[in-house]
Amino acid sequence: MKKMFSRISGLVLISIGLVLLSSFFDAPPKAKSSFRMAYKQAGLTDRQAAAHLLSRFTYGATPGEVDAVVAQGLENWFTAQLTATNADDSLKQLLSSYDALNLTNPQIELIFPRGPAVLRAAIKDGVVDKDSVKTDRKEYREKIQAYMREKGFKPEQELVRQFINQKIIRAAYSENQLQEVMTEFWFNHFNVSFTKPDCARFIPNYERDAIRPNALGHFEDLLMSTAKSPAMLYYLDNFSSSGTNTNMEQQNNNRNGAFRKRFAANALNNDSALAKKGQNPKKGMGGLNENYAREVMELHTLGVDGGYTQSDVTQAAKILTGWTIYPMGNLYNNNAGARKALEQLGEEKMKERGFVHEGDFLFAVNRHDNSEKVVLGKKFPSGHGYDEGVTLLTMLAHHPSTANFICKKIAVRFVNDTPPQSLVDKMVKTFKDKNGDIKEVLITMVSAPEFWSKEALREKTKSPFELAISSVRSLNAQVNQPYQIFNWVNKMGQKMYYYQAPTGFPDRGQYWINTGALLNRMNFGLALASNRIPGVKFDLLALNQHHEPESAEAALKIYSALFMPERNTDETTKRLVPLLTDPNLQQKVDEAAGKTVTAQQGSADAMQEQDMTMAANTDAQQMKKIKAKAVAKNNTPAATDMATTGGNNKYTLSQVIGIIIGSPEYQRK
């Protein structure tokens, strides 16, 4: 933590241009920025620029935020975001009820043991008989549940849920929006996934400790902290990777034989069930595993065309042998022995022997291949341990290919799917000159006219998560059940934290927009606006100073402007107004839809309990009744019926809002 603070304060000092020897607590950023954003050159007004800035570096502007940023000064706003120093008291308040978020990994390991571990413990403790397991489902489940309560165990799903909820709350309400945006960016870059059971329970702290504190720091720190984090060590299997060369065997024999034996036998299998049977049933020790070494080059640093070979991968894997997880306390797996062995040895002796123990990370020197290696032409002489892994990762972090790869990816994220090389080049120069300082790279990006060009404005497609959170922010909504948002985001094609491949979600519009996903975006808008997403509350009239729009047309104009500041929404309005004001619209649409369609849709939702024959014989009167019932059920401020412009116009304010959120323009940022 100390390191992070000093980095941040360092930047504050630099970017503010003050040379004061004060900690950042003493010097809150009364930012006078040393850089200029290039939007005037691109012909944008302050408001237009502020809207663009907010659309890219936050999860969407809240009502009135554009004006606030203009008043603060765009550069000042950005500087505060870069240092993530805005007070976030209300966010802390919102997160205070999530008790699993502050646990350490060893605590999590004890409180949220995995299913198989619980089962084995229950068998061991004689709670369930091994012959009855899963044969009598109900009785067995109840016994296990009672056992878990008694032991104070909680299901892992509870941890996952708290974690996902906190991300949604942070994205929606953090005052340090850029930090959240960058946290998401880097998580996706260094992707790990809940789909892999071994690493799942370590993911919350991976984001909390490895990613978020470094999201606006130096790339090298991100790389190092992810490399040592249990989630990554499990996800890409490095935890099990060990050397097999003769040097190592010799070293083994020369050292304290008894310790070696015990430690190796216990082999750091943090989750006995999978790991023990998993990697190599004969030896219990993994042997060389190249997965992390490959992906750290291909995906985390150099990029697939970054100029490395298969030999580089193998050699790097050897350098990283022994990078593993300190055995955590758990009575129910094989770690107890390994941990005991290390504890008996003591921290002093461990250090002497070349072990490194930092939090959850362990460099197990006895598993390290200390032969000579060559990676990317650099020789790593034999006889080294932990230090050569650090040297390797530092080298990768500062490699020119890495600068290119990372800067391009940042530009894709914030500018458009095919950013101009001229811009990427400027960012690469900064990355190299400033030692991989992410803040400086971002400053270079916004100081370039390319960031503000026509080719950038509105050109990115919101991801499903961005769509959902920007809607919440547009509405100033209160989210009491964040998991409901997660479910919708999944339906729209982004199961957050569950992307299986280490590539992370692709960052391009084409990936997000397909027929099924697009329909669900529209349905999301309708569901949200009509208060059909449980636990999401908002007051539409309050957004308009408690004035009820006098017509559907007025509503469309007012709320389009509120939700999409500085966008030209004339086209949307022009297209929709005739529909909105057509007195016979409902009738026309229903006729066109035909009876089967209506009946089918009706039966699919509202009328599930109704007599099917009635639905099949739908006539106008019956449908009216159903609708009246539906409206009554939905009697909330959001559903305020608007003054009709004539005939039987059924547009409600909530419907207008739903259509805005589902509209093509709102999918862009």
């Binding site: 049933p281 992906e295 027929t515 697009l518 309708l526 086209e571 066109a592 039966s603 259509i659």
Partner: protein, 422 residues
């Protein structure tokens, strides 16, 4: 965007009497050129079922003459000797016996439409579910970072234009097999493929009309084209009463997740909406504890698997020539039973391939009489057939995808003849 355009041309004109909101624009155009319908009709469909958790291939299809196996599984081994109770293995060929709960498969096997490959698996020896599934679905067993799934690459290699329903996964989120650049849909329930306002169907129609107009006007071509496709797709589905679907031939699908998924795949096939690759899942195969014999967990699982598949097969009887179905599972289980009446993670398993162009009625593969010497790591059924050799053969013979290098990069190998020579 040529593929999107082509959908408009090819989009199954016969389906559309009246769409809501008027006649879809592409219909008028399509009506002039009926010719394009015939090649479209000829499209083949591959249905893949992933059995997650690793099926015990040695219990599904048991080499019942193997004394080593019998000794290794004192309480799990079943015999093919008729006991008159219907609980013995179904003798397929004097060597292999089908689990009695898969009796539904027997006729298909005898008719030579169903083939079994035994000893199938991945060259990567991982026994982690996650890793093994990941590798099998990406089709690149030594490359963690493979961005795409093999089915997505297959779709890209079809070499002709797509409809929105070309690649559909009946799952709530996109499976690894479908990751990649080619459009695919993941959907649990076809009736969700609509503009919905729960409790307010009338307003939903109004909203649908509004959205359709808005997307038609969108300045982003991606949003405009996809919006158009979405509404066309809705119209396709709405011509059929998805919710009140009645399967053909009096078929009743088991009311399970797999049954539901296959039922909806059958609907898509019959609607002729351009489906070519479908994906579904089956779970519960990780039988560490008390897996049972002719009754119990494993028996329940294979009952569901075989009954769902046979229900699907008779439901689509009129389309059988166009469809091949293939199962897959990440690895097999230990030869020896464990201390809790189950089996642990092993290496090779078996899979099932069903279709009229399948070289059926045979247990393919190359598994030997078991002995310590020929077991993988001294304990598991060795992988003698690379899964890619079977997957690529099905893709080649059924879908006419013969670019193995693109479908399975890093792999070169021979086909084993699970499909008929054409």
């Amino acid at each position: 965007m040529s593929s999107r355009r082509a959908f408009l041309k090819a989009g199954g004109i016969a389906l559309f009497g009246v769409g809501f909101g008027g006649v879809p624009s592409f219909m008028a155009r399509a009506a002039d050129s009926k010719k394009i319908l015939s090649p479209y009709k000829k499209k083949k469909i591959m249905v893949c079922i992933f059995q997650r958790g690793a099926m015990d291939g040695l219990m599904a299809v048991t080499p019942f003459t193997d004394t080593y196996l019998q000794a290794a599984r004192p309480t799990l081994f079943m015999s093919a000797a008729k006991k008159g109770t219907g609980t013995s293995l179904i003798d397929l060929d004097g060597r292999f016996g089908l689990h009695p709960s898969m009796a539904a498969f027997e006729p298909l096997f005898r008719e030579k439409r169903l083939a079994i490959v035994h000893g199938i698996g991945s060259p990567n020896t991982t026994r982690s579910h996650f890793d093994a599934q990941d590798y099998m679905e990406s089709g690149m067993p030594f490359n963690k970072g493979a961005a795409s799934g093999w089915l997505n690459r297959a779709v890209g290699l079809l070499g002709h234009d797509a409809t929105p329903f070309r690649a559909v996964s009946l799952t709530s989120s996109m499976p690894r097999s479908f990751y990649g650049d080619n459009a695919a849909i993941a959907i649990n329930d076809l009736k969700d493929f609509a503009i919905q306002m729960k409790g307010n169907p009338m307003s939903a129609n109004v909203a649908a009309k509004s959205f359709e107009d808005l997307y038609d006007q969108a300045s982003s071509s991606l949003l405009k084209e996809t919006g158009k496709e979405s509404f066309d797709a809705i119209k396709m589905l709405q011509k059929t009463d998805v919710k009140n679907y009645v399967p053909a031939n009096g078929v009743r699908y088991p009311g399970t997740a797999l049954g539901n998924a296959l039922k909806q795949i059958a609907q898509l096939i019959k609607m002729d909406v351009g489906l070519e690759v479908a994906f579904a899942e089956s779970g519960g195969w990780d039988t560490h504890f008390n897996q049972g014999t002719d009754t119990g967990i494993f028996a329940r699982n294979v009952t569901d698997l075989s009954q769902c598949i046979t229900a699907f097969w008779s439901d689509i009887s009129a389309y059988q020539d166009d469809v091949t179905l293939m199962t897959m599972t990440e690895f097999g289980r230990t030869v020896k039973q464990n201390g809790t009446g189950g089996t642990d993670h092993g290496r090779a398993s078996c899979n099932f391939i069903l279709g009229n162009d399948v070289n059926g009625g045979l247990v393919h593969g190359n598994i030997q009489q078991l002995s310590v010497e020929n077991l993988a790591d001294g304990r598991d059924l060795a992988v003698t057939t690379d899964f890619r050799s079977v997957f690529s053969e099905v893709a080649d013979k059924h879908l006419r995808i013969n670019n193995d290098a693109a479908l399975f990069p890093d792999w070169k190998g021979d086909k084993i003849g699970v499909m008929n020579k054409v």
